[in-house]
Symmetry: C2
Subunit: 451 residues, 2 copies
């Protein structure tokens, strides 16, 4: 029985938040540090990026989520270093001042960000989607593209603005491209006068031989068929090889093709947070190809039983970087820390993942689910998907709000309630484009927010 | 009967949108130009700034609002010049390319922005609230202040972060300060561990002798009493005379006072859009002290019966810069243009404002309303206020969504559903503070978004 008063949890995603909650009532102090003030429910982030949901419903304030847990507190700060020998986490508060957080036990769960496989310069042209700001940026990009198409004076420009390419056909890529198709074919047609949004070209590019890699082949085929029906061209065995502001070059079975496409979205790969490397360097643990730190079967780091790494930044049993392993690892670590306090830790075995299955939506009343060997498609899968996602949201206020937003997106002429192009993003577009375009108006006027 | 085929409306606020809608079915083409893609329902903007409402409910996409009006189209572009002689509007599209919009009749309704009375340098320290981005910025500032107070290591810093000053006690200032008080006293107390948010000092500073200038004295007194009960210190006859990052200096009956206050919000004054001056210069019309262009009794400009200026940028009969005059002017102009097309314009007299009264909320179940000489306070005024504001929102989806968000903010432990501190703003805070703070950590780490 070890005295472990101070628990520090870094990261308020699925892993860190569940570890924190699993320590409720234990005789410890838990400090949950995150560089944002909210827990982000990432599985629904694509719905913020496509105007279905407002941000708050999938991003409750962390301190509000744990307000009834008397032994836990939330801290808005950015962790910049961890001293494993001195057992201190260094962070910066939002006021830029340094903070020292000593710990007895540390749980690191800083997640992952999108990765461009050695092509970081693509980030500018094909944004990825990991944060609310990313989602708002992508929403502004998609909606602005239709606006620019409406203004375009020659057919080539118009076509480039009406071509949307999603790179990567995992669940995020499939769900995003499905919503872009719904925007073009269901939501927006009547809003435009000069363009026909049905003419939009929507491509889903995937390097592997099929979409939704880990799903059963029958579900992959169903998904491809449904996407094609919705007007998405699914290009498998095809990789992005180059891109710039106006085009993307893809290479597939029929060779290379340079496609004029203003809007590219990156859903092809993730890399673990830099904290994984920091922990690997400090402990000698391995890093895998995705930059994740390999942990021992109990989620601790070699030689440091007091330090856990969980969620998307940690590599264990080749588990995928989705919500369920992160949630279960968080719960496991909380349980293990409790057992250490009260005795009996040795009776808790290594972490065992209970695979509850996978699911992905494609579009309205279309989804795939693969759970305990049962494969479901169509409306039943869609309803299952909706039920489970609402269930996992935090708080009844958010659950009901999300149901209402979904109802709105399916009725009321399929409107998307959240189509704001934020000025920050618009301004970015405006400034960047003004620099590159042959505008015969001085650039300072383009960026003058007073007009 | 004049042929006036091309109507251009600049600005999609209350005035411009109502002018556009009033032309539905007329034998004209209407082009509605706005530099954002949405109509903003400004009377509820303070609720976005304080976490009650998400942005989309009060900001429907303009082209969606007019999608069923066959003779109208929306254009996302920033108007930069108007050639009254050549009858051409010059604008920049979101791609930075110039656009020319010839017109037969022009309606300019570009609104107003906040003004600092010769102290533009205050904009950095005391943001105003006119756009959704402003509201998100203010929300991030208010919520970050509580976060920084929680982290502060000495009592003076903590007090400065827990002091909130709203400058200007018109409806916007009163409504904002009331919500800051509800955050501090109702919503947030249980979320924090180290600070007691009840200790927040919340000041409402007003240069005039009373709050809510145009309201009846009995309603002014009621408002001041209710605000004081909610924990707001109301300082009338008091002006802001200086401010910086950490303090504000006010001057009132008891002399000057320099108050440590990290969060200042500006609700004290507005200035018309620069388009007003452009029109005044081109036509010889007067500009009033708020930069508004004086128009003739039929809302046209001198010598240019084909050009109308309406809403907050126009001065007519000393009407206040609120929604009702803008709406009614828009409707009037639409009617006048129709009459010119079909004959009978001479039978339409000058614009006449029908004053339907004024109202403002103070907090939950507290409001004031003054309509047709009937003065109402408390819950009845609050219900009237809610009913009328929901009624004026555009679309049933937004109306029901707003009712649901209000219900949430009044129940579910008074939670505010939309408390996201956006990274863009947090980053701004972080970077700015890191530059000024005595941080012993290199500044590039503070701004590294990868960690």
């Amino acid at each position: 029985m070890i005295m472990q008063r101070h628990q520090v949890v870094v990261g308020g995603g699925f892993a860190g938040l569940n570890a924190t909650k699993a320590l409720a009532g234990a005789d410890v102090d838990v400090t949950l540090v995150d560089r944002t003030n909210h827990h982000l429910f990432q599985p629904l982030l694509y719905q913020v990026a496509t105007g279905i949901l407002p941000d708050g419903l999938i991003a409750p304030a962390l301190r509000s989520v744990i307000k009834d847990q008397a032994n836990a507190r939330a801290l808005l700060a950015e962790v910049i270093d961890i001293d494993l020998d001195g057992r201190v986490v260094s962070a910066l508060g939002p006021d830029g001042k340094p903070l020292r957080l000593p710990y007895d036990t540390l749980v690191v769960a800083t997640g992952a960000t999108h990765a461009y496989f050695g092509h970081d310069e693509w980030a500018e042209f094909a944004p990825g989607m990991k944060t609310l700001d990313d989602a708002r940026h992508i929403r502004s990009q998609i909606l602005s593209a239709f606006e620019m198409a409406e203004l375009a004076t020659n057919p080539d420009d118009r076509a480039a603005y009406l071509t949307f390419v999603v790179v990567g056909a995992g669940p995020t890529g499939v769900e995003l491209v499905g919503q872009v198709a719904e925007l073009a074919h269901i939501v927006l047609p009547r809003d435009y006068r000069l363009i026909d949004t049905h003419e939009a070209i929507i491509l889903l590019v995937e390097a592997a031989p099929a979409v939704l890699g880990p799903f059963a082949p029958s579900l992959q085929r169903y998904t491809e068929q449904q996407l094609e029906k919705m007007g998405v061209q699914v290009l498998c065995n095809t990789a992005a090889v180059a891109m710039d502001e106006e085009t993307i070059t893809i290479k597939g079975p029929r060779g290379e093709d340079r496609i004029p496409a203003r809007t590219k979205i990156w859903a092809a790969g993730v890399r673990a947070s830099p904290m994984a490397k920091l922990l690997a360097d400090a402990t000698g643990a391995d890093l895998d190809r995705a930059g994740r730190v390999s942990v021992r079967p109990d989620c601790t780091l070699p030689g440091h039983p007091e330090v856990f790494a969980i969620g998307d930044m940690a590599a264990l049993n080749k588990l995928p970087g989705v919500a369920q392993p992160a949630i279960q690892e968080g719960q496991y670590v909380g349980k293990l820390i409790r057992a250490r306090l009260t005795g009996g830790a040795e009776r808790i075995g290594p972490f065992r993942y209970r695979n509850k299955g996978s699911m992905a939506t494609i579009g309205r009343s279309k989804a795939v689910a693969d759970s305990f060997g049962v494969r479901v498609t169509g409306l039943p899968a869609y309803l299952m998907w909706g039920f489970i996602h609402v269930l996992y949201l935090i708080g009844w206020g958010n659950r009901l709000g999300t149901l209402y937003a979904w109802l709105r997106s399916l009725t009321f002429s399929a409107n998307r309630g959240y189509r704001v192009i934020t000025q920050q993003n618009a301004q970015r577009e405006l400034t960047r484009s003004a620099e590159t375009a042959n505008a015969d108006v001085p650039a300072h006027q383009a960026a003058d927010p007073a007009r």
